[in-house]
């Protein structure tokens, strides 16, 4: 069955092209960063790191080369908002990157595009070429003396982990896409060892909007700690799947109402690495201080088998872990084995407790965000749907 794709009107559609850049280039660098900080914008890629602070660190780093990287690897199951942005509002993203370059003192931007979005490449290249021709990229951007900035598109090769910013940088450098040790952070030692800001597609687009509409406009929306608007990629058992714009701080219940997901038994917020919110907690807010998200919302209707959901996620992580660190490489596999045992009614309570403890170890000891969050779904499903997953009829060997 094909779901009707619905969307509400996005702010991006109302922002005139190149207005943000015009406004930015009239300011000095410090002012731009102060404005971004003041807006309270936090990274839209999932981790929710304050964009202003990130840019400030990169601006303060001493180096003759710096880089702006736009993370368009969009690999989190259930997210496709970046694809929509790149299809309809790519100029806002390119503007945001240029503003970032101006603010931190970079001359080069790189858009790291997910391999599956290769079909978008020529369209984006055309846009970039047009921007170059019209002086919005290249030397002395918009006539601003001494500000040179250009953007290059580089393709990913299909690994989810390359969305992790340091793995992305490794991949850009031509290495195996594996996360690095941190510290140091990319703002200090990034692409080719130079200070680099890595931001999500949506983050850059919002920066442009903030420069057009002002920091206060953004700040007034959302909650105190999670300001502004956010795009959500909604899918699953609901009437309207699609990309929606909602203010941060919306409750899960409100969101479900808007997308026609009434009666859901649980909602996966933040994709496979996110959290599974059960119906009893639908009054929780989607915000960095409560249930954080990079934008993926997957609705599970009353008939969904939650163990199958956990299994599906676990299989995804076993496929996608880079395999360098022990907790994630081996841990995911043990958790999946546990799920299979549960499926067959052969997992003792004691072993389940052990697996949950293992999940906590993975969260605490894994090297990167993938392993740190891969047990989330398993743990929340065990915590909230114990009755459903336990007590399955044992399957004979």
């Amino acid at each position: 069955m094909i779901m009707p794709t619905e969307t509400n009107q996005l702010t991006f559609s109302k922002v005139p092209i190149n207005e943000g850049m015009k406004s930015a280039l009239q300011k000095d660098r410090g002012e731009i960063i102060a404005m971004v900080s003041q807006s309270g914008l936090k990274g839209r890629g999932g981790a929710g790191f304050p964009t202003g602070i990130k840019w400030n660190l990169a601006a303060a780093a001493q180096d003759d080369q710096k880089f702006v990287v736009c993370n368009a690897d969009e690999g989190e199951p259930g997210t496709y908002k970046d694809r929509v942005i790149l299809t309809d509002y790519a100029n806002l993203v390119f503007e945001g990157m240029t503003i970032g370059g101006y603010a931190i003192g970079a001359r080069k931007g790189i858009l790291y595009l997910r391999a599956e979005y290769t079909y978008l490449r020529s369209f984006l290249e055309d846009l970039l070429e047009r921007r170059r021709r019209t002086g919005f990229l290249g030397q002395n951007v918009m006539g601003k003396r001494g500000f040179d900035f250009d953007i290059e598109i580089r393709m990913g090769a299909g690994a989810y982990v390359c969305g992790e910013e340091t793995a992305l940088i490794e991949s850009l450098e031509g290495q195996r896409g594996e996360p690095r040790n941190r510290p140091p952070f990319p703002v200090n030692t990034g692409f080719m060892g130079h200070p680099t800001i890595v931001n999500n597609v949506e983050t850059f687009a919002w920066v442009t909007c903030i420069l057009v509409k002002g920091a206060d406009w953004f700040r007034k929306i959302g909650t105190e700690k999670s300001t502004g608007l956010k795009l959500f990629s909604v899918s699953g058992d609901c009437s309207f799947s699609g990309v929606f714009e909602f203010p941060m701080g919306i409750t899960v219940a409100e969101l479900l109402e808007r997308v026609g997901g009434i009666g859901a038994k649980a909602v996966q917020v933040g994709g496979a690495s996110g959290h599974c919110v059960p119906a009893s907690e639908f009054d929780r807010t989607i915000a960095f201080e409560d249930v954080p998200t990079g934008g993926s919302i997957i609705v599970f209707g009353p008939d969904r088998d939650m163990l199958a959901v956990a299994k599906n996620f676990m299989e995804f992580f076993i496929d996608e872990s880079c395999g360098q660190c022990t907790p994630c490489r081996e841990g995911n596999e043990r958790l999946l084995e546990g799920i299979l045992m549960l499926e067959q009614g052969r997992c003792s309570m004691r072993y389940l407790r052990e697996l949950c403890a293992l999940g906590e170890t993975m969260q605490a000891a894994s090297k990167c965000g993938l392993g740190q969050s891969s047990p989330n779904a398993f743990l929340s499903i065990v915590a909230h749907f114990k009755d459903e997953i336990l007590g399955r009829a044992p399957v004979a060997d």
């Binding site: 290495q175 496929d319 872990s321 490489r329 081996e330 043990r334 170890t361």
Partner: protein, 641 residues
């Protein structure tokens, strides 16, 4: 940090490279200290020190698996995690540079649980039985299992192997069922040695360490240096062990089994018997070897001296051709050829430079050829009944002795190459506690060795020995006139690449040994002999690239290359573990032994003098010596089919 680490040149990805905090360039921050509290103990460390390094200073032990002092930091095993106050997650102490005051706890409940889990996870994939494993009692995984009280396999244990053991290489055997994916071998091969045979392939639970195209190790560009073996924490990598064959030869009454012992194993073998590094057991080992049943015990130093004479003469011949005959075809610099790992490296990566390699065989092979000819004749033995065993610190020597061209005596020059570790095993098997053995000397006719042979074991040793001989033979002076105690210190030490220049101001008469080749040395007056020393193939590569680019190395006349970091004393057959300190201790033992010898110059070795009077009567680099003691090389290239 390893003395070999050179930030500019390493090829390891940043994800596996030591990411050291670089303090801001303002002078205040340079050398600045930062305070850190570890388990309640406070100390001040330089900015950028890792938690692991800091904890060592206060005597707090943090377990490690993927960390190795010689290698860049990977931070992948996560066994070293600790709690840093204020951080929501545990941090890998090996990979966490301290840049602000922090408080660290190294054994909280969460930390202990994480370490147990990590060990249990590793064991859930680790197929192998400790009692049937060469690393039994010397295995980092096994030791940690004990330390953390692993008493059952919480997450199971494999019952079947997943991989086939790769026995294709004459030097290194890979048993990937014991691999814990710490990637130390990968970093060793790519980053420390810059050979690049091993890489991680695939991801997640499918990831494994592979060779190019998953070809057998024997078919790829592995140089057999065995450095990966020395740095593997488990029994996944080991040398190809011929002890069964050696025992069989000893047990066979028709066989005359002789063993030659290289300098480095003496300085290391004590470690296999629980001694501190750097306690030489040269003469104890002689006794033990006889008790094991070897018929004769010879000192490789003899053939090391022989190599010096042959290689040194070759150098003088090259110089003569270039300076006097103006021969444009003569190649400089001449490269040493005694390190089989380096030779294979050159064959693979720089095949166009093979005519720079000295044609002289390595001491191991020269000795084999001499034993199966001269020695056989002297003792009226049929060479086919002589079994030559070589005790070497090296895994590449196993490959070398199996090179098809190494049969100039009509038989295999050397039948078996044993590593230090394997000999220690044989000695234990014979019920001998080596350090308690009485001392005894080497056997004649090669008995007396010189110090110059001993220092072959350390990087710079071949060069020092060659210089001692060249100075005396050419300049007609005592080395001691130029260098106190004949210690040519500029070529010693552990710097990756070292240079030395020796201006030849005056010359002496041509000594008896070389009369057939040279009339006088006058053509050398005013020349400056330029030499260099490089150890570890990463540095060798640097030298080679410099030669290609016409840099200072290209102006050298003679360059010593050793494939292994530290030279042979850090060889791939030496006791495990290895570290800069351990290698330094072994080097001290070697130089101390050199200083204790009376005759310290190769050309003064009476056994050498005798060999040239009785057997190689036409002198060095003559027809016979070329036949027996010299060899040729194979351009292999990098591309494998």
């Amino acid at each position: 940090m390893a003395e070999f680490y050179d930030k500019e040149s390493v090829r390891a990805p940043m994800s596996q490279r030591l990411q050291r905090f670089e303090p801001p360039s303002d002078t205040q921050a340079i050398g600045a200290l930062v305070s850190v509290t570890i388990d309640g103990k406070e100390l001040k460390v330089p900015l950028g020190t890792t938690i692991l390094e800091a904890s060592k200073k206060v005597g707090v032990r943090i377990p490690t698996l993927c960390y190795h002092e010689d290698l860049c930091v990977a931070g992948v095993c996560r066994i070293c995690v600790v709690e840093v106050e204020g951080q929501p997650r545990l941090q890998a102490s090996c990979a966490y540079p301290i840049t602000a005051p922090i408080k660290v706890k190294t054994h909280t409940r969460q930390v202990r649980q994480a370490r147990r889990h990590i060990l249990d996870l590793l064991l859930s994939k680790h197929y192998g039985e400790c009692y049937a494993c060469f690393r039994n009692n010397n295995c980092e995984l096994q030791a940690l299992a004990k330390e953390y009280g692993v008493d059952f396999f919480r997450f199971g244990h494999p019952e079947k192997p997943r991989y086939r053991i790769d026995r294709s290489s004459p030097s290194v055997i890979r048993d990937m069922d014991k691999c814990i994916l710490c990637r130390r071998c990968v970093r060793t091969c790519i980053d420390l040695q810059e050979v690049g045979v091993l890489e991680v392939n695939q991801r997640s639970n499918r990831s494994k360490v592979i060779t190019f195209g998953e070809k057998p190790l024997g078919d790829v560009i592995c140089i057999n240096c065995g450095q990966c073996i020395n740095r593997c924490p488990t029994g996944a990598l080991r040398a190809n062990d011929p002890t069964d064959d050696v025992w069989a030869a000893i047990d066979d009454p028709t066989k005359h089994v002789v063993i030659q012992t290289a300098p480095s194993p003496r300085a290391g073998i004590g470690e296999c018997f629980g001694l501190e590094p750097g306690v030489p057991l040269t003469f104890e080992m002689n006794t033990a070897l006889r008790r094991c049943g070897f018929d004769k015990v010879f000192d490789t130093n003899f053939s090391a001296d022989l190599t010096i004479i042959e290689e040194g003469t070759e150098l003088l011949q090259r110089l003569h051709k270039a300076l006097v005959q103006k021969d444009k075809m003569v190649r400089f610099p001449q490269f040493t050829s005694c390190s089989p790992g380096w030779v294979k490296f050159c064959e693979h990566f720089y095949p166009e430079f093979l005519d720079h390699l000295s044609s002289a065989k390595s001491p191991q092979q020269m000795f084999g050829a001499v034993i199966k000819t001269y020695y056989a004749k002297l003792n009226d033995l049929d060479p086919k009944n002589i079994v030559t065993v070589a005790l070497m610190p090296c895994s590449a020597k196993k490959f070398e002795c199996n090179r098809p061209e190494m049969c100039d005596s009509g038989y295999k020059d050397i039948d078996y190459g044993l590593t230090t570790r394997e000999l220690a095993q044989m000695i234990s098997e014979a019920g001998i506690y080596l350090p308690a053995m009485p001392k005894s000397d080497f056997d004649d006719p090669f008995g007396t060795a010189t110090g110059s042979g001993v220092i072959f074991g350390a990087t710079g040793g071949v060069m020092e020995a060659a210089l001692r001989t060249v100075i005396e033979l050419v300049c007609g002076i005592q080395v001691e006139d130029l260098f106190a105690h004949a210690d040519i210190t500029p070529v010693r030490g552990f710097d990756g690449i070292r240079f030395m220049e020796l201006p030849i101001k005056k010359v002496g008469p041509v000594p008896e040994l070389l009369k057939g080749l040279f009339e006088d040395w006058d053509w050398l007056v005013g020349a400056t002999l330029k030499v260099a020393v490089a150890h570890g193939t990463a540095n060798a590569k640097r030298v080679m690239e410099d030669i290609k680019a016409g840099g200072p190395c290209s102006e050298c006349h003679f360059i010593e290359f050793m494939a292994c970091p530290g030279g042979c004393l850090g060889g791939g057959g030496q006791p495990i573990p290895t570290s800069p300190e351990i290698r330094a201790a072994r080097a001290r033992a070697i130089y101390a032994e050199d200083a204790a010898y009376e005759v310290r110059k190769s050309h003064e070795n009476p056994a050498i003098v005798r060999l040239y009077t009785e057997f190689l009567t036409e002198g060095p680099c003559s027809h016979l010596s070329h036949h027996l003691l010299h060899t040729a090389y194979t351009p292999r290239g990098k591309y494998i089919v």
